[in-house]
Symmetry: C2
Subunit: 297 residues, 2 copies
């Protein structure tokens, strides 16, 4: 009898790649964190880690992006235009497949996190779940009927436009493309540029009131756009004590009870609707391993 299969997962971020090996139950047996340098060095280091272990059945990658997910596209698995130097046009799938000789599953970092939380975290048992990260940037992933949401490319919800009252907040926004889109107003990077200090060092209550306003707009626009059964909000900025609570309160007010679903009409139900990831920082890698398993589904 052969040994039970092992699966590899990569949370491929712009700063670091987190690699993990898990058993068929999703239990993580080993991990390694690799700094994101050049594509070649980074991918080679990931391959080296996986080779230190017994042969894997498949590898799953949750990648920073934008990344081409259209199977059949000539640039499938390539990171498209990214500000990250050296990475535009990088194929993150073929080198792994060639070196490890196993199937490679791919999705965005945020879709992987959504999938991880849906499979083993705060989204378990639900049909449609959205995962939003408010970190250096803002991204949203979603699982609809058990499948990550794709489309023309994949959602780029960080770039939706939301109301921006320039009297209250004269900051022009930090998005290089759009200025004051959601990410340009509410990401950690936007906070740093607006206030001149890192979000973790920022104590001005007005700053956090404003941040809750923007994140609440994101939550409500996501509600009206996608109607998820739960919205999971993670990322470094949400570690700020009180931000999630303020966001829920403001989202509840913005909804004004419409439509008449309990999360929007019953303040306690809102607390169950907008939640922190129950896998904490492990949502992404959990989802990446799940992407590996799905190579055989």
């Amino acid at each position: 009898m052969s040994a039970p299969p092992l699966y590899g997962g990569i949370e491929a971020g712009g700063t670091k790649w987190v690699c993990a090996i898990a058993d068929a139950d999703g239990k993580v047996l080993a991990t390694r964190v690799i700094p994101t340098t050049t594509p070649e060095t980074t991918i080679t280091a990931a391959v080296r880690f996986f080779r230190e272990h017994r042969t894997l059945a498949a590898v799953g990658v949750g990648s920073f992006g934008p990344v081409d997910l259209r199977t059949g596209s000539p640039t499938y698995g390539h990171i498209t235009a990214t500000p990250k130097p050296g990475w535009s046009g990088t194929d993150v799938v073929s080198p792994l497949r060639a070196a490890l000789r196993v199937p490679v599953g791919l999705d965005t970092d945020v879709n992987a996190a959504a999938l991880g939380e849906w499979r083993r975290g705060a989204g378990r048992g639900l049909g449609t779940v959205a995962y939003m990260t408010v970190g250096t940037g803002i991204g949203v992933g979603a699982v609809v009927n058990g499948r990550p949401l794709h489309g023309l490319l994949h959602p780029e919800f960080g770039h939706v436009r939301i109301p921006h009252d320039r009297t209250r907040d004269p900051f022009a926004g930090s998005c290089p493309f759009h200025g004051d889109c959601l990410e340009g107003l509410a990401s950690g990077e936007a906070m740093r540029r607006r206030w001149g200090q890192r979000a973790e060092d920022l104590d001005d209550p007005a700053a956090w009131e404003l941040e809750a306003e923007y994140v609440a707009h994101a939550v409500m626009n996501l509600t009206y756009a996608l109607s998820p059964e739960r919205i999971i909000v993670g990322g470094g900025v949400t570690k700020r004590a009180g931000l999630m609570g303020r966001t829920r309160a403001r989202a509840f007010d913005l909804a004004a009870g419409y439509p008449a679903i309990s999360a929007l009409t019953d303040r306690a139900a809102m607390d169950e609707y907008v939640v922190s990831p129950s896998l904490g920082d492990h949502a992404g890698i959990t989802g990446a391993v799940e992407l590996a398993m799905r190579c055989f589904a």
Copy 2:
């Protein structure tokens, strides 16, 4: 041998119900338009129409809403809170099923229109398609991987918040819940209230410039939220000559080339991305018939 099956469809709107009978190829054999009065009178008239014909295999309903689509919910098939007098809490499914003794498929009016265009119109062959109507109100439906998008309830994209420059447009918005949400700013009703005349009578170029701005925001937020392969924009307001063209031009500018997909980087591709319904006003009824056929899928 028994006769080939017939299917019934109802586009159940707040002003009128359009009923149709179609063959298994979707070819419409008979239609009737019934004014929406009280629930009982309206539903009875629809039943009478269907009874004039050979027994149907199933009936599909694309309903105004909000409507409870959660199979298993005690209020499945009920219209929930609607401003339409007499209709809040109306069960639109059971009376049809009881009277006609056939399965009844249900979805929202906009999901039905999205499904109709996806099956037989401008969305044919695509994976994810969004349909937006800009009429008296604003609604969005979507088909994701061949299935209408549901969730906690169903999307209510008309109520997303978009940028509203009160210097350019001091109108406070017409949404009874939110004031200046998308519908509150850009629906036909919003135009009537802002300008004091019906949209079809309005010739001020500034009014249509502003309308294109808002519809372009809707198109781009939908792009970033859902990443559909095509956005089909219908509804009475879009009949205005020039509006669709202006909307595409403005959406292209708002996108600023991000992400680098052809619709957002190549102005000609944008013309194929944001389109009018190829079924014209028949998208909804076509989708309703499709909902009937899906009772057996």
